[in-house]
């Protein structure tokens, strides 16, 4: 709801205004309607969650075009699988799981990871860092330069607050592996930030 209210005015469609009637503006209501193939309700869910989903995709891929594709794929898959959503987890978590799968699937298929590293190395302003300011921007840049496995775990655990078990489930790795990747990420980040003089 918060994302919906902060969305630009141009994002609001007449249908969405119509949805702002009492009783049907809640997420559960939209989910129920979307499960009955109501595309307008699904659009409301999209508006509500797109920033978090896109942010996750962008932080995991580091490439704007890839992140856009992954975010779109996430919502298309969510629409197709919506009848299987039973509310066992939060809708956002369910979406994030699909988003992580979409990212992993795309990265497996394409060999753009090497290009991504090259782009990130060449440009000091990584795609995701534009959303951050000050020291956080430096950290964001450093995260973007991490190797794939370490970056994915760091983003899910440290940025999005998932546990090692949840991150491991999403990434298809054991919690122990997630811990090891986090340790690696921390070491590499500390090294990077130290080299650039951001930490002692």
């Amino acid at each position: 709801m918060e994302a919906l209210l902060t969305a630009p005015a141009s994002d609001y469609s007449p249908q969405m205004v119509a949805l702002n009637k009492p009783g049907i503006t809640d997420e559960a209501g939209w989910i129920a309607r979307a499960q009955r193939s109501d595309a307008r309700a699904f659009e409301s869910l999209y508006r509500m969650h797109i920033d978090k989903v896109y942010g996750l995709c962008l932080r995991m891929t580091g490439i704007v075009a890839e992140a856009e594709d992954c975010a779109q794929e996430t919502f298309i898959q969510a629409w197709n699988k919506l009848d299987r959503f039973r509310g066992d987890s939060a809708f956002a978590t369910w979406l994030h799981r699909i988003a992580v799968n979409a990212v992993l699937g795309r990265m497996r298929k394409s060999k753009r990871e090497r290009d991504r590293i090259q782009v990130a190395t060449e440009s000091s302003t990584a795609a995701a860092s534009v959303a951050d300011t000050g020291e956080l921007r430096d950290l964001s840049d450093a995260v973007d330069k991490l190797p794939e496995g370490a970056r994915h775990v760091f983003v899910l655990y440290a940025v999005y607050g998932y546990s090692h078990k949840e991150a491991g489930d999403m990434l298809g790795i054991a919690p122990g592996t997630s811990k090891a990747q986090l340790h690696r990420a921390r070491r590499l980040l500390a090294q990077q930030l130290k080299e650039e003089g951001f930490v002692e």
Binding site: D51, A71, Q72, F75, A158, V159
Partner: protein
């Protein structure tokens, strides 16, 4: 600052990174277009796939059964010049296992050797083999109607011989290419 303090500070700082980032363009039109296609039942493609697999296995088994069941082509009469085929086709004057085995071996060699040839030469050889194969098929059809026709029998055997020779020659083609080692 020790490693633990630094790590804690790092994780703490990372939790402050922005999690919600607005895409530069509205992604909804693309999604809307994609989901506009009516949902298909997830069982339909699976059932279709299963049916396709069953059909494929059935067809494959059927072909294998009829192929195995079919009697080999019987060469009832030979002219004097066809001694080679008489030997190659076995004592019973049929397309014997020796011939079939040799043909299989040549075919295997051929596939390996074709890889080494230029696309143009490869295409020529494949075309010639296809022509011979078509000729054999046509002669077999004619023989079904006139099984005692000696001319057709001879033509059939000659075609098999042509095929055999071509396979043998191509199979050995690149093995006998001379290489100069004095350069």
């Amino acid at each position: 600052m020790n490693d633990i303090d630094r790590d804690d500070k790092l994780i703490s700082a990372a939790s402050g990174l922005t999690t919600g980032i607005s895409p530069e363009r509205d992604l909804w039109p693309g999604i809307e277009q994609a989901i506009a296609t009516p949902k298909r039942s997830r069982w339909t493609p699976m059932l279709a796939q299963a049916a396709a697999v069953v059909l494929l296995i059935g067809a494959s088994s059927g072909i294998t059964y009829f192929t195995m069941k079919e009697e080999p082509v019987v060469i009832q009469q030979f002219s004097a010049e066809l001694r080679f085929e008489q030997t190659a086709f076995g004592a019973e004057q049929t397309l014997g296992s020796v011939y079939r085995g040799a043909q299989g071996d040549y075919r295997t060699d051929l596939d390996a050797e074709l890889e080494k040839l230029s696309p143009e030469v490869r295409a020529d050889i494949e075309n010639n083999l296809a022509l011979i194969k078509d000729a054999i098929a046509e002669i077999n059809v004619a023989l079904e109607k006139n099984p005692d026709n000696v001319l057709l029998q001879e033509l059939l055997v000659r075609s098999y011989r042509e095929q055999h020779t071509l396979l043998r020659r191509v199979g050995a083609l690149t093995k006998h290419v001379m290489v100069r080692k004095d350069i």
